[in-house]
């Protein structure tokens, strides 16, 4: 497997387009489309928030009932959440517009929205945007990259990548783009993430691979503990790589899952590191756990602790807050037996042994914590299970961004 420059248009047969549809922002693109030359098997995972945005409900129907899709329409600026019947109607109108323009059955059109909750979409702008984008659909790096830029809200940079992997004697490509910066605490899936692949893989296995992988990737990141109403991750597989279709959990499936995991983990980490106002990616590895579930609960509790996140911003080796967050996580461990380490590009050092501070250098610890990516390793010495979670620091800018997000 190797990473290649690319995104959602790197796999064979996928095209993209974007436009400034005037949905909310001025002077920037805010709408994007993904299109496959042939119908795709589709899989998706969605927010577990019981307040689900209209496009989430629409896409669940496509993924669970149609199981096939050929186009995705995405807008930034307005989330189409808490919009009642009118919001659902706008999803239908968007899909109808694609059906009319591209002769794709409307129940094979995915829609996704991100932005402010509670406002209705300007549906005329959406439909006009589609008319503008359809003739512009194209393959190649540029159109995919432009789409990744168009779906951003408070993100400071686009998030995309592609990998190539050899499956059944053919080169298979998986590409993806995602967005997400605030209201990031995915439960089942992240804010918005779109994956395309030319792999030939049956729909049930595609769904199985995606559902398993989001548990270890998107579901292990958090920016602010707020699980969005719009979390959506979908993957379209059009089979154009020409590999023998993956229909059982064989070596080909494993190779596909490994590549998928790399794409998902990379996008998830990019999202966590670009959390609203963040100055650092904050990684927490729990090792020596009895079960993976225990390690996950402990690591997620630390990356969501406001006090710990503020300490990371201050480059302060305030390890007591880390132990405190592990303690209230709900997972059991021996609070007298924890070893903690800080690690970054600047080095690695042990801070506590058996839950009591070592005679470490605060200066050295601060140096390690001043890097743009910081890792905490917590060894609970109970077994062999591990888990990693990703978050970011809590900064003035997080407050600033969210105190006047709507205005």
């Amino acid at each position: 497997m190797k990473e290649v420059k690319g995104g959602i248009t790197t796999a064979k047969g996928f095209k993209a387009a974007s436009t400034a549809a005037g949905i909310k922002y001025k002077n920037r693109t805010d709408m994007a489309m993904i299109y496959s030359e042939v119908p795709c098997n589709v899989a998706g995972t969605f927010t577990k928030n019981i307040v689900k945005a209209a496009p989430v409900k629409w896409d669940q129907h496509v993924v669970y009932d149609s199981k096939q899709a050929q186009a995705v329409v995405i807008n930034a600026g307005i989330a189409n959440a808490c919009t009642g019947e009118e919001g659902m109607e706008y999803c239908r109108k968007t899909a109808e517009k694609i059906e009319a323009q591209l002769q794709i059955p409307m129940d094979q059109v995915l829609v996704a929205s991100t932005g402010v909750i509670g406002k209705q979409l300007p549906i005329d702008c959406i439909c006009a945007g589609i008319e503008t984008m359809v003739p512009k659909l194209s393959g190649g790096y540029e159109s995919g990259h432009a789409a990744a830029c168009a779906i951003m809200t408070t993100d400071t940079h686009e998030k995309e990548l592609a990998v190539e992997v050899e499956i059944g004697g053919k080169t298979v490509t998986i590409g993806g783009m995602s967005k997400g910066s605030g209201m990031i605490h995915p439960n089942m899936c992240t804010m918005l993430s779109f994956l395309t692949t030319d792999a030939a893989i049956s729909q049930p296995l595609l769904l199985k691979a995606l559902q398993a992988d989001v548990e270890d990737t998107y579901n292990m990141i958090s920016v602010d503990g707020d699980t969005s109403t719009n979390d959506t991750c979908v993957i379209l597989a059009n089979g154009l790589a020409g590999n023998p279709e993956i229909t059982e959990e064989n070596e080909d499936y494993k190779a596909f899952c490994q590549a998928l995991h790399y794409v998902n983990e990379t996008l998830a980490k990019q999202m966590a590191g670009d959390g609203e106002g963040a100055t650092a990616l904050f990684e927490v590895k729990v090792i020596g756990a009895e079960t993976k579930e225990q390690a996950k609960i402990l690591s997620k509790s630390v990356i969501t602790s406001s006090l710990t996140k503020a300490a990371i911003y201050g480059h302060d080796a305030n390890w007591g807050r880390i132990l405190c967050a592990m303690g209230y996580s709900g997972a059991q461990f021996d609070p007298e037996k924890v070893d903690l380490f800080f690690e970054s590009a600047a080095g690695k050092m042990q801070i506590i042994k058996d839950s009591v501070a070592l005679d470490y250098s605060e200066e050295e610890a601060t140096k390690i914590l001043s890097e743009p990516a910081v890792t905490v390793i917590a060894d609970v010495k109970m077994g062999d299970a591990t888990a990693t979670a990703w978050g970011c620091d809590l900064t003035y800018d997080y407050v600033k961004i969210n105190a006047d997000y709507r205005s």
Copy 2:
């Protein structure tokens, strides 16, 4: 029942003292004592964090085994948490010092600490502080007030009150003081809260009354979602009011519980409103719930949402974040049927009906949200149960305080 000017020294037979023991802070008091002329029945509730500070473990022994106490020693600046055997030894030395000075059995001495985690207490300063305080112990408002000031950390003001209630033909007083501003997300009890009463009440009923009441008061506040290692709430009842001892759940017990609730709720709200960096007390009432448990989960989810808290700081009627936080709370409700209202000293207005925005005035909403105490009322229209939770807004100063708390 009526509120009177006072605190922990208002109930008959209680004295207090405080001193600048030099534990961490310069030029301020940082140690306090409470003392009763006669032994008291004692009840307490403590953090559910499995990382428990040494004084929590010590006090649990006093409350559950001795069931009697006559003195409390409190320090601010260092939490004596994650301090291993040495930390437990310092609790014992503190109690021994009181035993030597005041002839109170050491297992009837409560200790409490608050401050930075992971540092050892300067035990010589603690012992010297006790020697200084013992001769200064006195009743009257001033000594109690000074104690309430001495136990603060990042608090911006002291928290205390007292009430009088008629029980069994006698005037019974309940007074209290508490501290807490960050790492406030009590589970079983808040950071530190000390209550004194001259009521005559059996120890089992005192414990029952306290345990029941903390569920609706301290356990319903949150500043930052971080459940402390030190959460402690204790009540000492010395019986000097002369009322017939409360030994069953009769009218006298009800009157006592009602007064206790008033004291606890007031202290809890004072803590939430004085959350680190806060500019506003943020109250969330969920009404029309099927069960009280459901209403509690929903209201607590809203007050702990970072995005909602930032919106309150920005005086922004960003109701979508409130509905979103209810949606990921884990409690069930019909997401299409919620009514939301904002209320403060500036007025009350309905924002959404059946989960869709009304044509409300943003200007008017901002006016309501600009008051120092702001209430959200969410009606889920399923039944008659209600619950109220209290938090505060999320501000630049929260980040500032916690990015350099240790330094």
